[in-house]
């Protein structure tokens, strides 16, 4: 069977038969045989033939996967209307039209023109109805898959703001998004990805706001995946297949569990991608600085957000460089440390057998081991591991003169700082980046750290996310976007959409929204 192009469903109209697909046979039994042969030994595939239009009426074959469909819904909207149609006339030529317009009460009716299309619909939990003598089949949506309820996102918790998070079912996620963006300009384009998983992937954007070029690029990258891979189970697979820099450590596509974050991204002129079975939406283009923003930023006052973001940027610096700074100062440039502090460090290091770099590697490595162990264990046990690791091992190491007390402080500070990064993937990258930086610092002191910084900046500025410079708005420098993005100006002073996103419609809001009490002589005051 030749590989099919991915499907883009716009609306429920009968499309022309796809080139390359096998046509549906006129005979019901032949269709049934083909389908059963394709599925082979399976208990879940069921078929039923219903005669519509009396004793000498038309035979309609229904095929469905009983593990994926809602039996009550199928009975109510498909089978009962078919049987209740009675002796009224129906012929082979008008069967599709009559069934769709006068018989079936199902809300979502689609068509299938090829055997492959019929198989795909069955696998999606639909009931496929084939009237004898027709080259087309009707598809009724009665699918039902196990679904957990909408809950608060675990990885992006906020103190104030919406409590809803995405779930594994794509329809529910699209509903959560559409409830926030009630506009006919919200576009959703479906793609089927994975030869065996036939996973549904949906590309969403706001027409007229998002750049057509960027959306076209995203569309072409998704189409390129198509059925060229065997399966798609998680959204990260899509990220790996469509990102600009596959060998980079840094993510160039952002992920979120929060519907309002996706809505905000779409309103800025980005696109989002939903993947069936994953409670994370992807959105792009994105900047490096955005990985240090959180949904909580929009529920705080702008000045508070500025302070929070400053803390996060400071934490980024601590996460990457604090152990290296300690090693560089103590091992290479102790003349830069104030004398009292230097004496205190020297006292703490008395009797410690390792050089500062060795200490740092040992403690940072131990912390990573404890962290990984804590993640893999059940929550109750992970707390115990953390306490044992941090308190018992740390204290014992200091008492045994294996590690100096100041190193415990450095590692602790670094660890705490690494948790302030809101994006989980970026936090992981930053945590592991400090090891090569530490290595270069151990070899060349502050110069090693400087070289690491140069290499890091060179790499970051060379990245792009769907054509948008990754280090924007810092490089290329755009003062207005720094004010908006990093400082989060008050909503009434947000200005136009970011120019670096190439949004079609740059006007976000009208001016003059700054709130103020009515002036003397103006209406609105109560006197």
């Amino acid at each position: 069977m030749p590989p099919r192009r991915p499907r883009r469903s716009k609306e429920a109209t009968a499309p022309p038969p796809k080139p390359g697909g096998s046509p549906i046979p006129l005979d019901n039994d032949e269709l049934k045989r083909i389908i059963l042969d394709t599925f082979g030994e399976t208990d879940v595939l069921h078929s039923r033939t219903v005669r519509v239009g009396g004793e000498r009426g038309l035979r309609v074959l229904a095929i469905y996967d009983c593990s994926l469909f809602n039996a009550a819904e199928a009975a109510k909207t498909v089978f009962e209307p078919l049987i209740a149609y009675g002796d009224r006339p129906i012929t082979r030529t008008n069967a599709i039209e009559v069934l769709k317009e006068r018989v079936l009460t199902n809300a979502v009716i689609d068509f299938a023109d090829t055997i492959e299309g019929v198989i795909e619909k069955i696998l999606s939990g639909r009931v496929v109805l084939h009237p004898e003598g027709s080259r087309q089949a009707l598809v009724c949506d009665v699918s039902q898959t196990p679904m957990r309820s909408v809950e608060e996102p675990e990885t992006e918790g906020i103190a104030r703001g919406p409590r809803e998070g995405f779930v594994e079912q794509i329809e529910a996620n699209l509903a959560l998004l559409r409830r926030r963006l009630r506009t006919p300009h919200l576009r959703t384009e479906s793609f089927t990805v994975g030869k065996y998983t036939q996973t549904r992937v949906v590309l969403t954007y706001i027409e007229g706001v998002a750049s057509e070029t960027v959306v076209a690029e995203a569309r072409s990258r998704l189409e390129r995946i198509g059925v060229n891979i065997d399966g798609l189970l998680v959204s990260e697979t899509v990220v790996e297949l469509i990102e600009d820099h596959p060998f980079s450590l840094f993510p160039t596509i952002n992920t979120t569990e929060r519907p309002e974050r996706v809505a905000a991204a779409l309103l800025e002129g980005r696109f989002a991608i939903f993947v069936e079975g994953t409670p994370f939406a992807l959105f792009a283009p994105t900047y490096f600085a955005e990985f240090f923003t959180s949904s909580a930023d929009h529920t705080e006052r702008s000045i508070t957000t500025l302070m929070l973001r400053t803390v996060r940027l400071l934490s980024l610096f601590i996460t990457l460089f604090l152990p290296s700074i300690y090693v560089a100062l103590v091992s290479f440039h102790h003349e830069a440390i104030p004398t009292i502090l230097l004496l205190s460090i020297a006292l703490g290091r008395e009797g410690v057998p390792f050089p500062p770099a060795g200490e740092a590697f040992l403690m940072e490595g131990a912390f990573e081991v404890l962290r990984e162990a804590g993640l893999r264990l059940p929550k109750t046990l992970s707390n115990a591991v953390s306490i044992v690791g941090v308190l018992v091992i740390g204290q014992a190491a200091v008492a045994a003169k294996v590690i100096s007390p100041i190193m415990i402080i450095i590692v602790g500070l670094t660890a705490v700082a690494s948790f302030t990064t809101p994006n989980f993937g970026t936090a992981n990258v930053l945590r592991f980046l400090r090891f090569p930086i530490l290595f270069l610092t151990a070899l060349f002191g502050a110069i090693g750290m400087l070289i690491s910084f140069i290499l890091l900046v060179t790499h970051l500025v060379s990245l792009r996310s769907f054509g948008v410079p990754y280090m924007a708005p810092l490089a290329p420098f755009r003062y207005n976007e720094i004010k908006k993005g990093l400082w989060r100006r008050p909503v009434w002073d947000r200005g136009p959409r970011p120019a670096t996103l190439f949004a079609q419609d740059t006007d976000r809001q009208e001016g003059g929204l700054m709130p103020r009490p009515p002036r003397e002589g103006e209406d609105g005051g109560k006197g």
Binding site: A336, P338, F444, I447, I454, T458, V461, P476, F477
Partner: protein
């Protein structure tokens, strides 16, 4: 040569970095010649620097999309055009080698005295080669990041040092006439004229005016930096102390105590200094690689970035043996002559030959080739 787009701000950042040599040695030479009028000398240097860069800009083709190498061939003819391009290639390599040598000397004397010089050289050369290979966009964006750090360091320095400045050290003014400040300004003018190298990447900007704005602004900012640094250094140490400085910015930073947080601010200043020097070096590697690509008529410059880095590193080892020798070269005048020959004399010749071509074209003779024409 490559498909890229850079902004005016990005170009200003690189050009400022390229001028880094201008603040290394000439200030000390300025103090040696102009004595207490050194700060006047810096003002003259800033003004003359702008004038020299303006001559550069006047020598540029009207169409900003034309690459400088093509333009040189168009004006000078196929043979001399290639010769002048080779001359500029050597100029870029020499300047890059000197910058590398300076970085190496600085690091080996101030930070890593026990590390072999070659290791330091390689340590800074490899990232430079990588950045140059990634293209002009990456270099400009890096510059925009580093310039922020440098500006912050410089501001901390100025604010931290201002209480210790003695304005009486700036006196007497012009007690030996105008000649010493004028002569003392020449090395600084030469180093400021290096900002004119921005016209080599003019085709990556939106228009000719953006390029002119970027080059002139970068020269003005660099000139201002020279003036500020000279005034601070002279106000702090008087011209006698300045005379002995190799790197005034770091010598000045050494005298600052930032509360009880850092014993020596020069560490931070040194970091910012090295970042900017690194950028200047990377830009020169990029320019040299592009010159080779043009001369070799290859489609891309990228294969030449690492060979250029290796050549420049070798030059760094061979050309000059120490920072003291470099300072001597800068302050005795041959540096100014060498740089100004490329940044002032050649542009003047280009203007003259261009004028001659136009006159011949008006009288019916053969003019220069078509705009952007590549001479075989």
């Amino acid at each position: 040569m490559e498909k890229a787009k850079i902004s005016t701000g990005g170009l200003i950042s690189i050009l400022w970095a390229s001028h880094i040599l201008g603040t290394i040695f000439p200030i000390a030479g300025m103090a040696a010649i102009a004595k207490s009028s050194a700060w006047v000398s810096s003002l003259i240097a800033a003004a003359l620097g702008l004038l020299v860069v303006w001559v550069w800009l006047a020598a540029r083709p009207a169409d900003h999309q034309t690459f400088m190498a093509d333009w040189l061939c168009r004006i000078c003819g196929p043979f001399f055009g290639v010769a002048v391009n080779v001359l500029y290639l050597l100029f870029f390599l020499v300047m890059c080698g000197i910058t590398m040598r300076h970085i190496m000397e600085l690091v080996s004397t101030a930070v890593l005295p026990k590390t072999p010089n070659v290791v330091i050289l390689v340590l800074f050369a490899v990232p430079g080669g990588i950045a140059a290979r990634l293209g002009i966009e990456v270099i400009t964006r890096s510059a925009q990041v580093y310039i922020g750090f440098s500006l912050i360091s410089f501001l901390i320095l100025v604010v931290g040092i201002s209480p210790y400045i003695h304005l009486e050290n700036l006196l007497p003014v012009l007690n030996e006439g105008l000649r010493p400040p004028l002569v003392g300004a020449v090395p600084s003018v030469a180093s400021l004229s290096l900002t004119g190298l921005g016209i080599w990447v003019a085709p990556y900007l939106d228009d000719r005016r953006s390029m002119e704005r970027a080059v002139l602004t970068a020269t003005a900012i660099a000139g201002l930096a020279v003036v500020v640094l000279t005034v601070i250094a002279q106000g702090l140490f008087s011209y006698r102390g300045m005379d002995e400085m190799l790197i005034p910015a770091i010598s000045v930073a050494r005298s600052v105590r930032l509360g009880r947080i850092l014993e020596r601010l020069d560490a931070m200043m040194l970091g910012a200094w090295l970042l900017v020097a690194f950028l200047g070096k990377t830009y020169l590697i990029y320019l040299a690689a592009n010159q080779i690509a043009w001369l070799g008529r290859t489609r891309h410059y990228r294969p030449f970035t690492f060979p250029v880095t290796v050549i420049a590193a070798t030059m760094a080892m061979v050309l000059i043996r120490s920072d003291a020798e470099l300072a001597e070269w800068v302050n005795t005048g041959s540096f100014a002559g060498y740089v100004l020959a490329h940044t002032f004399v050649v542009p003047l010749l280009l203007i003259g030959v261009g004028y001659f071509h136009r006159r011949r074209a008006r009288t019916g003779g053969a003019g220069p080739g078509k705009e952007g024409e590549r001479v075989p």
